[in-house]
Amino acid sequence: MARKILANGDNDTRLRGAKWWSQVGWKHVFAILMIVYCVFPLLYVLSASLNPGGTLTGSTRLFTTVSGVNFADLMETDFPRWMMNSFIVSTVTAVGTVVMGAAAAYAFSRFRFAGRRGGLTALLIIQMFPQMLAFVAIFLLALTLGEIFPGLGIGSNLQLIAIYLGGALGSNTFLMYGFFNTVPADIDEAAKIDGATHAQIFWGIIMRLVTPILAVVGLLSFVASYGEFILARIVLARPENYTLAVGMYVWGSDERNAPWSLFAAGAVVAAVPIILLFMYLQKYIVGGLLAGGVKG
């Protein structure tokens, strides 16, 4: 990758003056405006996380007190444990979603079989079932499964992961399906002629070419399960099993004495891994194809 070829054709990386402003500079201005938009609501949260008492949104005078005591207190609670649970659940869910979703996308993209079209549409439409009552049966399911497979019962992270994986096929599959379709079929054909099986093509060739979308889906899935608390609080009945989102929800649901300071500190800490994860994944998301992956 000595020199990147830009999709938009603007390949001179040493711009100066007005041209720099018109082609690159404004993007920095835009970025900063966007960051302000993204961040300013969170100032309340940051301010509350640094203030050892008071309210979340009661005052517009932010950062009147700055102290790290909430963060120290946070470590005294179950919070670190919740964070650990969340990492485990979200990581396994993300990996499972990526593998199952990619496999399904591969099948839809590369094979022609009866019910393919209908199946694709059905996958998406099923996901549209209103979530409001969607977990109506989850508790029941959790009980029954727990009786049959100990370890898959109420309170287990494994159960929660299984429930999340129930949604692995869906819009994620579509995203990957679209991406798989852009990988030229010649690649498969060539490999087949060389004697590769479909499994080898899938694992060895296709999966490498679609890294960006795998990273995106992995991240989306990670974030989704990281922030999910509606199903999780059905399954995870005890504070030591909580994921972050459930724990925070429980803090926030206290009608009168919600520990907003702790809550805010928790939210700040909880957001950090997502940001770091994304920064790490970026090189896979935007790096892969610019180097000419699909040119095969």
């Binding site: 008492g53 008071g54 309210t55 979340l56 949104t57 009661g58 005052s59 409001m132 009552l133 977990f135 109506v136 049966a137 989850i138 508790f139 029941l140 009980l143 029954t144 727990g146 009786e147 019962g153 109420i154 309170g155 287990s156 509606i230 609080r233 059905i234 009945a237 005890r238 504070p239 929800y249 429980v250 803090w251 926030g252 649901s253 206290d254 009608e255 009168r256 004495n257 919600a258």
Partner: protein, 419 residues
Amino acid sequence: MRKSFLAAAAVGLSLTLAACGSGSSTSTPSATGDATTSAAATTSSAPAAAGSLTVWADETRIDAFKTLGETFSAETGVALDVVQKPSADIKNDFIAQVPTGEGPDLIVTAHDATGDLVKNGVVSPVELGDKAEAFGDVALRAVSLEGQVYGVPYAVENIGLVRNNALVQDTPATFDELIAQGKGVSGAEFPIVIQQGENGDPYHLYPLQTSFGAPVFKSDANGDYTAELGMAGPEGEAFAQYLKKLADEGVLSASIGGDQAKQAFLDGKSPYIITGPWWTGEFVDAGLDISVLPVPSAGGQPAAPFVGVQAVFLSSKSENQLLAQQFLDFMGTKETQDTLFEMGGRMPALNESADAVSDEILAGFGEAGAEGQPMPAIPEMGAVWQYWGGAEVSILTGKAEPVAAWQTLVTNLEAAFQA
């Protein structure tokens, strides 16, 4: 009950476990007897000799009940497995889980759940026997329905007028005078703050409403609520007009939610706030010198806040009824109520324990609630909050004429009761 939107959202988002059981002919508890262990509790509960009880308690009382559990266990050999549940979820999850044969043996919750719990047949009646008289009258009525007691009360709480003594030192006898006085306080932005919010908050306005002689429901001879609205008629309309007056004077505003009210009082922007004991701790911690007083009357009659009662309820499907009864007996003892008071800071429901409380702030709330009536626990109450808050907000924001809005409120509620 102040409906925090998160709490309400929890109900909304969850519609908890609705169908549990409905299709659940398959999940009858296995006959091993161990199936009683709560759904929530994947307890290890071996079929122990003395057995164990599962209790759901919310985050504010989990510690108190864990401590109680140790004492109870030491006394009886029965282990108390206290499971923490968000307060917003306890009632709904309980109603949904009991029919499956799962769910805890006992729950700790506010008494206004009584109506729903009874309607769904998920609680056992409790026979307090001769001990009934040891409890405060309001506390006992709060957990009763149609002459039957359903829970053991352990704490009562209500809102009152909290005064910042640094700003004013004496409080007049009527609400109008209080406003006039509050407006004269230099440096204060508000004469008084009463939390409202975009969806209204009838709970915090209720003392003013009752001072016009317009309780939400009428009571029968025994003091029990009937399903007949008490706020219909000229009394309620007079209150509606008073609301309008307060809004016009800038005393009440839908923009002042809980957060804003609390912060304004903490910042010394208001000499008064109408709130409950849940915030006074923070006020004191913040260095404020406060007193708690009854809310002055606005309409001539005594201002009676709602009294909320915390109680323990027994599941109708508990397979440990006998042990659970022992725990309920234990809940009614002075030692237990004292412990809960020490750990929870709420006024005990047992007279003997309540009399021993010397804390001035709590005593102030006790006095403020002297005229108070239990928050209605009859099933009709479930319909009231939304309409009631909506009507009050429409008066505050000037979207509707007070009398007309109030009359529509009454019509709508009566229609909702029919539905």
